[in-house]
């Protein structure tokens, strides 16, 4: 195993300082469920020389919710902690859809949503629902903090907008307006312990007449990053959400992605599954919105 120096800072500032001092050859350690495998098995490039743990940084572990302020998930909070936070299951069911299926219960007890996002796998299950809810990411550097929309956070497989010295502090998710619904579904060969071949989150807000006031459709594992299917969303806005309209939106979304074919499935099947899952998740979102 590659040898590395290990740091366990107490504050975000200190962490940012260590990261910027040691340069790009350093990695942040949260749950370690991705990082340790990468170090041991030499996947995703050379192993880091510096590992900076966020375990001792208190503020990164908070998960807070109020209907007015929305949901804030500290980047170091585990999936289990997030799922157990009051209001999450009720107001953000798609976050539960996307995170309760990550790994096993043991993984969820140690893995973090922040880590799932920063690892930036195109198939990360937490990303599509969070983007669909309109989440933003709070980023801290050695000197300043900044906020970016989560949909702009990813720049490629394993790559994010984080600059050397920066770390993700928290994710903020606004409480969805009335008459909204959102569902995330992924397709995997197995019923559990698997990785998305395609993941789709559909968020829909209806107006008083039952037309689509707003739609956000987010696709995972079918492009270098999670992507918004904007043309599909546009096709629904202002429309009656009929089965035909949803089917059309699904096929439009299938054209917006750029899937690869690999051991998990062909590109054609990924596009096809996108179409199916857009229809299914949008249907489920509508059902929630009409409740």
């Amino acid at each position: 195993m590659h040898k590395f120096a290990y740091y366990a800072p107490q504050t975000v500032k200190e962490a940012a300082r260590i990261l910027s001092k040691n340069g790009p050859n350093s990695k942040l350690l949260a749950g370690g469920t991705d990082l340790l495998v990468q170090i041991k098995e030499h996947v995703k490039g050379p192993a880091p020389d510096y590992v900076v743990s966020v375990k001792n940084i208190r503020e990164l572990h908070d998960v807070k919710f109020s209907a007015r302020a929305g949901l804030t998930i500290g980047a170091g909070a585990t999936i289990s902690e997030t799922l157990a936070t009051k209001g999450v299951q009720e107001h953000f069911p798609a976050i539960a859809d996307g995170t309760a299926i990550i790994g096993s219960l043991q993984i969820q007890n140690i893995a973090t949503i922040g880590g799932n996002l920063c690892n930036a796998a195109p198939s990360a299950d937490s990303a599509p629902p969070l983007i669909a809810y309109g989440a933003t990411a709070l980023i801290a550097g050695p000197r300043a903090t900044r906020t970016v929309a989560l949909e702009d956070f990813f720049t490629g497989p394993g790559k994010t907008v984080l600059k050397p010295g920066e770390l993700l502090v928290s994710i903020h998710v606004p409480t969805p307006p009335a008459r909204s619904g959102c569902q995330y579904v992924r397709h995997t060969p197995r019923a559990q312990m698997d990785i998305a071949m395609v993941g789709v989150a559909s968020f829909i807000t209806l107006d008083r007449k039952g037309r689509v006031a707003d739609a956000r459709i987010v696709l995972g594992a079918v492009a270098p990053t999670p992507i918004r299917a904007r043309q599909a969303e546009d096709s629904l806005r202002g429309q009656e959400p009929t089965a035909d309209a949803l089917r059309a939106a699904g096929d439009i979304a299938a054209r917006e992605e750029s899937p690869i074919g690999d051991v998990r499935g062909s590109a054609g099947y990924r596009r096809y599954m996108t179409s199916v899952l857009v229809q299914r998740t949008a249907q489920a979102a509508l059902k929630q919105a009409m409740r």
């Binding site: 492009a223 054209r255 750029s258 499935g265 096809y272």
Partner: protein, 837 residues
């Protein structure tokens, strides 16, 4: 045997359960020796290459490295057969698959050993790679040529690739499929080869009975299809491992091996390391699963390393190595044509079986051929089997080796024919299922098989009354397995505390020691608490056969009966003398022995033991001996009914319920027999729905981790209802037959038939992925050519997998106009379709 059984036949928790659950049990990976070194292996960087040179000098200089070995360190007093995987535990001259060991390092810790691999400089001359067995058979295909040391250039050119017949017949013998017809096959083979000699054929067998042309001419229905199975891994939890300690003073090698067969392991290690057998001792710790894969793969290399390093050495595979460079189960391509009459009577079977054995011979090709036809009464048979070399890790056994390959093919054929003549799946199989006296394709008559008993038991099962909804379907399949039947020996002796110890040399994979305890208790007439079962090593244990071919309880059980009888008769003889009474006057119980007629005559077990082994003892010690010749063979037949629901859009298969029935002769321990039926079914479901080792064009495995090589998880599985059928065997213990293997055979066929019932589409290739099924339903194709409309971050990397496009929708049903309808595109198949995997 005994009229009323009190212990045999009851469900009994395993005697080793507590130790395993509490972590007390010692497995191979737990072995720790003073001064032990860790070993790592450098695998070939090419799937096929000449090894030009290996420079290990830099690796040797790394602090902490104790020894580095290469093919040059292979023992010089051994004539190594480079056509045998067992002899090729380090590559010499050539590497034949990616990851094949070319060098190994022993160091003070695993990290140092791993680091040292980077400093070994190997120069290769790459050779053409063959991955598709059909491609490898083509007349212009390059040859995969093994060679002995010092083979001349000329002999290389003239080398016959089919040089590994030895291993092959060994395999036949091991699984006991009968020994007729192999020579005849060779003659037929030479005729067939005269037409067009296929290349890279390691072995070829033809099984022939009657006249298939005549059979098809008499048929009302003739169906022909091609079935494909992927290479799959046995998936044992405990990784392959061995620990070796070379005693240079006594020139003795001790091996701790995670193995199924310690006596085989000893013999193999001695043979390839050039040591006398009595100088090798194998100790088998608890084994965390083997399923056919743990026969001599690891120990020789670790043994050689310990001999070179002069210290104990341990080697544990990684899961990556397991999937890239171990010995999984073979992929196969089976083209099969079957016929029947309007009334459902089978007429003929003709098949071409191509088994991809990987880089070395050793696949169960001939068994696949036999088991294609053995479960049914086919009057006319022609089966042409080829074992073909490719540049992949070579294959070995996996629970009923080849059984799923045969069953997936023949069981869909049978289902299609039953549909065509309007019979139910069960009726058709009851009409045509084989029974005692019918000859198998290899000419051996079927012994007392319980296929019909299994089908009759299934017919009464409530599953048939479960209603099926839309997109749901039910499938039935059967499968049988010959199994092993080796000679066996055991000892039963009385210990000082008054317990009886059963001493065996067989490895307990499935709860066999618990069954032995039950058998011994039953025969001795004592409660099971008075029995202990001990497995000793190869130096101290009486010979026991391999834990393979499902034979341990079937073969060894009889030796345990004999040993227990012997011990009991010795006890009775001593007691009768001591009590001055007759033997039938003696009663044995938990406390001790007593005379029925003379109430004052009694001894506790420790007192009794004093009379045979104490300081002043006058009687001979109680030492029961059981040593029995090989059994006649007691094949196990199994059947599986699966209900599925197929997502009409995605193709995802959800299993609703599964029934697994099997004739076990007599369930010695109902609890472990149920577990065996369920476990085999789970593995059968896994290889049916998810499992496939996928190779890239360079011969590297593309899914060499458990993330992308998928075994079933609990949430994928329904409760499996195990139905135990007991049709006693002639010579097994209490009528037991083989148990462990057959249940893995039918699930793939049952699921394929259920999917066909649910969707109206047949899938001819395993695994039955959602994508394959969605494609068969014609839903995906229009999306293949779709182009991206939205701007993307980076251009689409070229798709690696042309999955399905060239491969699906090729197969279909034959039509029933009495003439053959071949719906396969055998001739039009493009190499690229296979390579795209």
């Amino acid at each position: 045997m005994t009229a009323e059984l009190t212990i045999v036949g009851k469900p009994m928790p395993r005697v080793d359960a507590r130790d395993k659950v509490t972590g007390k049990a010692v497995f191979g990976v737990d072995v720790q020796l003073p001064g032990m070194l860790a070993m790592k292996v450098l695998g070939s960087a090419y799937a096929h290459a000449e090894i030009v040179s290996i420079d290990t000098s830099r690796a040797r200089k790394l602090p902490g490295v104790v020894a580095v070995i290469t093919g040059d360190d292979l023992p010089h007093n051994v004539e190594l057969n480079f056509g045998s995987r067992g002899h090729s535990f380090l590559a010499k001259h050539k590497a034949f698959f990616y990851g094949q060991p070319v060098a190994a390092v022993a160091a003070v810790d695993i990290h140092t050993a791993e680091e040292a691999l980077k400093y070994i400089d190997v120069k290769y001359r790459p050779l053409p790679i063959l991955l598709d067995p059909l491609e490898a058979m083509k007349p212009d295909a390059p040859l995969i040529q093994h060679m002995g040391e010092g083979a001349s250039e000329m002999s290389m050119h003239n080398a016959d690739v089919a040089e590994d017949d030895e291993d092959h017949t060994e395999e036949l013998d091991k699984e006991d499929i009968g020994d007729s017809d192999i020579r005849e096959a060779a003659e037929l083979a030479s005729e067939a080869q005269a037409e067009a000699a296929p290349r890279n054929v390691a072995s070829h067998i033809v099984f022939k009975q009657g006249d298939v042309a005549k059979g098809f001419a008499e048929s009302d229905v003739v169906i022909e299809n091609t079935y494909r199975l992927a290479q799959v891994h046995q998936g044992y939890l405990e990784l392959q491992n061995a620990t070796a300690n070379w005693d240079a003073v006594n020139q003795q090698l001790t091996l701790w091996v995670s193995t199924q067969a310690q006596f085989y392991e000893r013999q193999h290690a001695a043979e390839v390391l050039g040591l006398p057998i009595h100088k090798v001792k194998v100790i088998t710790p608890e084994v965390g699963g083997g399923f056919g894969a743990k026969f001599g793969l690891v120990a020789p290399l670790v043994g050689l390393m310990s001999m070179k390093a002069g210290r104990p050495v341990q080697h544990i595979y990684t899961r990556h190595e397991e999937l890239q460079a171990s010995n999984p189960a073979p992929a196969s391509v089976i083209t099969i044509k079957t016929g029947c009459k309007k009334d459902g009577t089978l007429t003929a079977i003709e098949a071409k079986v191509v088994v991809d054995t990987g880089a070395y011979s050793g696949s169960p090709m001939s068994i696949i051929c036999i088991m294609l036809a053995a479960p049914y009464k086919f009057p006319n048979i022609f089966i042409d089997g080829y074992e073909v070399l490719t540049n992949k890790q070579s294959v070995a056994a996996y629970r009923a080796p080849g059984g799923p390959n045969s069953s997936f093919a023949i069981e869909q054929q049978i289902d299609i024919m039953a549909n065509e003549v309007g019979m139910s799946a069960l009726e058709f199989r009851l009409l045509n299922g084989s029974e005692e006296g019918y000859t198998r394709p290899d000419g051996t008559p079927q012994p007392k098989i319980g296929l019909r008993a299994v089908l009759n038991a299934l017919a009464r099962h409530p599953i048939w009354k479960e209603p099926l909804g839309p997109n749901q379907g039910r499938g039935l399949a059967i499968g049988g397995w010959g199994g092993g039947r080796g000679p066996a020996s055991a000892i039963v002796k009385l210990e000082g505390d008054g317990t009886f110890e059963v001493v065996v040399g067989t490895v307990d994979l499935t709860g066999t020691n618990t069954s032995f305890a039950q058998i011994a208790a039953e025969v001795l007439g004592l409660p099971i608490s008075k029995i202990h079962v001990t497995r000793l090593d190869t130096e101290t244990a009486p010979f026991g056969p391999a834990a393979g071919g499902s034979q341990v309880t079937y073969s060894m059980g009889v030796a345990v009966i004999e040993a227990a009888k012997d011990a009991r008769s010795q006890v009775l003889k001593v007691a009768a003398k001591e009590f001055d009474t007759t033997e039938d006057d003696i009663v044995l119980d938990e406390v001790g022995l007593r005379s029925q007629s003379k109430p004052d005559k009694k001894l506790s077990w420790p007192q009794f033991q004093e009379t045979t082994s104490g300081w002043t003892a006058k009687y001979a010690p109680v030492l029961g001996r059981g040593s029995v010749e090989r059994r006649k063979g007691a094949p196990g037949y199994a059947a599986c009914v699966a209900d599925v629901e197929v997502d009409p859009l995605t193709g995802y298969v959800k299993i609703l319920r599964v029934v697994a029935a099997q004739d076990v002769g007599k369930a010695i321990n109902r609890m472990s027999v149920e577990g065996q039926l369920q476990g085999g079914t789970v593995q059968g479901i896994g290889l049916a729905l998810w499992e496939e080792i996928m190779y890239g064009a360079d011969g590297r495995v593309r899914n060499a981790s458990l993330l992308d090589y998928r075994k079933a998880t609990p949430r994928d599985l329904p409760l499996i209802d195990a139905v135990i059928v007991e049709q006693a065997s002639d010579d097994g213990p209490f009528g037991a037959k083989i148990v462990g293997e057959p249940s893995i055979i039918p699930p793939a066929g049952a699921l394929a038939n259920a999917v066909a019932a649910a969707t109206g589409k047949r899938i001819f290739e395993l695994p039955l992925t959602a994508e394959r099924i969605a494609r068969a339903m014609g839903r995906v194709q229009e999306y293949d050519a779709m182009t991206t409309t939205a701007p993307t971050l980076t251009p689409d990397p070229s798709p690696i997998r042309g999955e399905g496009r060239g491969r699906n929708g090729r197969n279909g049903h034959g039509r029933t106009n009495g003439k053959v309808k071949t719906t396969n595109g055998r001739a039009s198949r493009k190499a690229t379709a296979r390579k795209a995997r």
